[in-house]
Symmetry: C2
Subunit: 325 residues, 2 copies
């Protein structure tokens, strides 16, 4: 067994169906990780499952729990500052769950809970593609759309832990309904679920034939991938829809660049990584819509840590939260 690093921290990614726990060293390197299915979304049950995962992964590297110097959990939703209180956890159906306390009780040490994209931004700004940068904007487009903000060298969470809700900026006032209950949100147009929904609406109206064909003729397989294939093949309808998405997303991101003047913009998430043509056009719109001076100061990059950005950031934030470290 390899020698244990001098500092061990646990990074956790708490999703709606799985939890992943990793052992990291103080430099954010992943030494081992485990993934466990969540069979019960009850907060206490989730805390127990995550604690089990922590014990399992620690055992796999031969480290006792007493060696752990930090624990950080990233999860989608609204977290109240550094209190560990999950105000809204959409994937778990949680409201006002003191998850940090629940997990701290299971593991006998303090736990930092943080929004998953804030964690990803922190991971990338600490040891990933934006390391050393003090002003970093991370935008992820997956089934949902969100952002993480590192401003002035610090994780920016806003007055009530709600900062970075980029998926819910309004791009079409009064427009399509969004899962959040509002209308016209960016996520209602470019989030993965909503891309599929929009295409199925077109298909139900007798359109989107080329996209349906790209989905193997199976309406249930319609989504971003089929859209990308049909657009790359030049289908005018697919091209128009993808261009509209790229413009909405790119202008919104460009506006963020104009207001926040970051040095790094990280673009990621399943929709963007799965639709390179959409991503390319989005980047073009960011450069066109952002103010020229701001764009000149900006480097646009991928998440260098890939799927580990969040888990690494959570672990490093957990470390920072532990007194005396």
């Amino acid at each position: 067994m390899a020698e244990l690093p001098p500092i061990i921290t646990l990074g956790c990614d708490l999703g709606g169906t799985n939890v992943r726990v990793a052992v990291l060293d103080g430099g954010g390197r992943v030494h081992a990780s485990v993934k466990r299915k969540l069979t019960d979304r009850n907060p206490a049950a989730v805390a127990r499952e995550l604690a089990e995962g922590a014990r399992e992964v620690l055992e796999s590297v031969g480290a006792p729990l007493s060696r752990v110097e930090g624990i950080g959990v990233g999860t989608a939703g609204q977290i109240l500052g550094s209190t560990g209180m999950v105000l809204v956890g959409p994937n778990l159906g949680w409201r006002d769950v003191p998850f940090g306390d629940l997990l701290a009780r299971e593991l006998g040490r303090p736990v930092r809970v943080v929004n998953d994209l804030s964690a990803a931004a922190w991971g990338e700004a600490s040891v990933g593609g934006a390391r050393g940068e003090r002003n970093v904007v991370l935008v992820f487009v997956g089934s949902g759309v969100g952002s993480g903000l590192i401003l002035g060298g610090k994780l920016y969470e806003g007055a009530g832990g709600l900062a970075g809700e980029f998926g819910h900026v309004k791009v079409v006032p009064g427009g399509r309904p969004c899962g959040c209950g509002e209308r016209g949100c960016l996520e209602a147009y470019v989030g993965g679920h909503n891309i599929a929904r929009r295409i199925r609406e077109l298909e139900a109206g007798g359109a989107a034939k080329a996209i349906l064909k790209a989905a193997g003729g199976d309406p249930t397989r319609i989504g971003g991938s089929a859209l990308e294939i049909a657009a790359e093949e030049g289908d005018p309808e697919a091209v128009a829809l993808r261009d509209e998405m790229a413009q909405m997303l790119g202008v919104a991101v460009g506006n963020l660049v104009t207001v926040l003047n970051p040095s790094r913009l990280i673009l990621g998430g399943g929709v963007l990584t799965g639709m390179p043509g959409l991503k390319r056009r989005t980047v073009e719109w960011v450069r066109r819509a952002g103010q020229p001076a701001h764009v000149r100061q900006l480097t646009i990059i991928d998440a260098e840590l890939g799927d580990d950005s969040g888990i690494v950031g959570a672990g490093l934030l957990g470390l920072a939260a532990t007194p005396g470290v």
Copy 2:
């Protein structure tokens, strides 16, 4: 003569035609101020004029220059961090002017130069309507449109001093030309000069009769005030134009609230203070477009220090920049 306060700092507002210099105490109270016309926009001449103003106002309160513990200058444009370098000063036609150094040489002490709306935000967050708040967004709509951001208790200037350029977020991609050289900027629709320009365009096309009448029939007096009068009188054209402006501005500000989650939003500037109907509708759109949870955490206020926000903020920032204070 009143007793001098224990700490004296100078706050300066450097505009395109005037410079104003005020003597402040450490609590940001204005003890005296002078205004001088700029006859020459040459940077060295402006520095001399401002230094003259400083000596004049100090003399008026019987304070020697040696008593001054800080000097801060707020001016429109892009300032490079705390270097005192004015990268772009649109009102003065400046590019890459080391104004902080020029003025420091005139007065024999360090000078902090800062964007005027950053200064205003700092003034309001320090001793104005947002005092004690750590996350404050200030949006001013005058002839230009801009913002100042206090994030996490600090003045936020971005990676290259360009943060807060809110007037240049794109609201209509490819839309009306803006003074900045780009198209579709918010300022091209709601900035004071552009309001007048849009109405004159309508008038030249034979429309905007009620707005022209509200301007006393004088096309050169067409502007926001005439628009407000005609809209209040129910002229459908004026109402539609004002509503469109309120929506554009309110949605853009609401999106800023959704991303930054501030506890205070300060709305000010000549256009908004001169058009209360526009302001009321803009606030309605901010509340409608911002995410509900963010809006619940938000208080929308006026600039409590009025026209002094910038000069007070600049003076207090100047104080903070002086070593040992």
